[in-house]
Amino acid sequence: MTQQILKGTLLNEQAELTLNDLCCACSRPAEWVIELVEVGALEPINYQQPQWIFSGDSLQKVQTAMRLQRDLNVNLAGVALALELLDEIDSLKSQLCRFELNDDI
């Protein structure tokens, strides 16, 4: 058994993923990921370039999209809508938490 300590890459907003990385990570063909971009559910950092690069947190989005489509039988336009609404709920919840803020220190 190895005692070596593995240091991975943290897929935060600064990390970069290729189209191929996303396809492999969610076992979906490139066409499917491209369609996600076409319906506006996913945004490459460099849309104009031939070789798309995505930020590291795109992986969460792609996996959520994959599960929504698989489990709820939603088409990709519906997935895009659900993702937007989920993001909005999250940001509203955070705003609500901070709204009653009275003091800065």
């Binding site: 058994m1 190895t2 005692q3 070596q4 300590i5 593995l6 240091k7 991975g8 890459t9 943290l10 897929l11 935060n12 492999c24 990570a25 076992s27 590291g56 947190d57 992986l59 969460q60 959520t64 599960r67 929504l68 489990d71 709820l72 659900a82 989920l86 919840k93 955070s94 938490c97 901070r98 009653e100 803020l101 009275n102 003091d103 800065d104 220190i105």
Partner: protein, 315 residues
């Protein structure tokens, strides 16, 4: 093994039509989908209703399940009677061959032996590069502040020399970088399945999940803490010690602080660029009137403070 009442799980009557069952399932699936629902047990509920639907959507499986009788109660200890599915005809869809993770109860009814026809397990399309794997790693909030090394044990199905499936275990020591947030992934290159024919191995993606903390709540990179205060600290102002995941700090409580008031400790949330904030929420607590002296003190306040907290209610 416990008997599962699939009708109750879906909230339908035993004589529900296939359409009613489908409708009930679709509604519950949207409600409890782990990506949509914020309920703590969403994932388990989603699995349960998926299993119930898997059993009831197929008229053959449903008929066989109904045959078990109405006398079973949910949770009752259950073993399927021998040959319980004899006498049913199955059109090849008998064996539930997908990789979903069903309960022992479901497997005992509809697993490999169900019906006579065996549909083969679906093979993934040939892929030279090894498959990517996904796993969750549970960490403490403090690990996100300081970074840590976590040892994780992963189980994956593998084939032994005689071709039988067994659970292969391996343990990895993984560095958790400072500043990780809930739901973020760490990619470990080459730690997925081995490639075929000399192709590279897949990657392993670890999803970060915080263990529930007994005093802190986390929202993105911000952290919340409920801080109990005495009535006199809140009324007169005070300097109190407040715990933070980085160690205690002194916090000045302003005169006349109300319950629920939030105080922001800038950049004391999860570290990063930008760092999160720590929000301290004031909770005023009352000492119990459990001694003569305490009772006298309350009585004195009652007599000397003309305080009506309900004046705004007009009473």
């Amino acid at each position: 093994m416990e008997f599962k009442d699939y009708y109750t799980l879906l909230g339908v009557e035993r004589d529900a039509t296939q359409t009613e069952i489908k409708r009930a399932y679709k509604k519950l699936a949207r409600k409890y989908h782990p990506d949509v629902s914020k309920e703590a047990n969403a994932e388990d509920r989603f699995k349960e209703i998926g299993e119930a639907y898997e059993a009831l959507k197929d008229p053959e499986k449903r008929a066989a399940y109904d045959q078990l009788g109405k006398n079973w109660k949910s949770g009752q200890d259950f073993n399927p009677p021998p040959d319980w599915d004899a006498g049913f005809e199955f059109s090849g869809g008998g064996f539930t061959g997908n990789e979903a993770d069903y309960s022992d109860f479901f497997e005992s009814l509809f697993g490999q032996g169900f019906g006579s026809a065996h549909a083969g397990r679906q093979q993934h399309s040939y892929n030279a590069r090894g498959e990517d794997h996904h796993a969750k790693v549970l960490i403490d909030l403090e690990d996100a502040y300081n970074g840590a090394t976590r040892s994780i044990t992963l189980q994956s199905p593998a084939l032994d020399k005689s071709g039988h499936v067994f659970n292969k275990q391996r343990t990895l020591n993984v560095k958790i970088p400072k500043g990780v947030k809930q739901g973020q992934r760490i990619r470990l290159s080459g730690q997925g399945s081995e490639g075929m024919g000399g192709a590279p191995a897949g990657d392993l993606y670890l999803e970060i999940e915080f263990k529930p903390h007994n005093i802190y709540r986390v929202d993105g990179h911000d952290v919340y803490l409920d801080l109990p205060l005495t009535p006199w600290e809140a009324a007169l102002g005070a300097s109190v010690k407040v715990p933070t995941p980085n160690g205690p700090v002194d916090l000045k409580i302003a005169e006349g602080t109300k319950s629920g008031r939030k105080l922001r400790l800038k950049a004391r949330g999860i570290p990063g660029k930008p760092a999160g904030d720590l929000y301290v929420v004031a909770q005023i607590t009352l000492p119990a009137a459990d001694s003569e002296a305490a009772k006298e003190m309350y009585q004195k306040m009652q007599q000397e403070l003309a305080y009506n907290p309900r004046s705004a209610l007009g009473v």
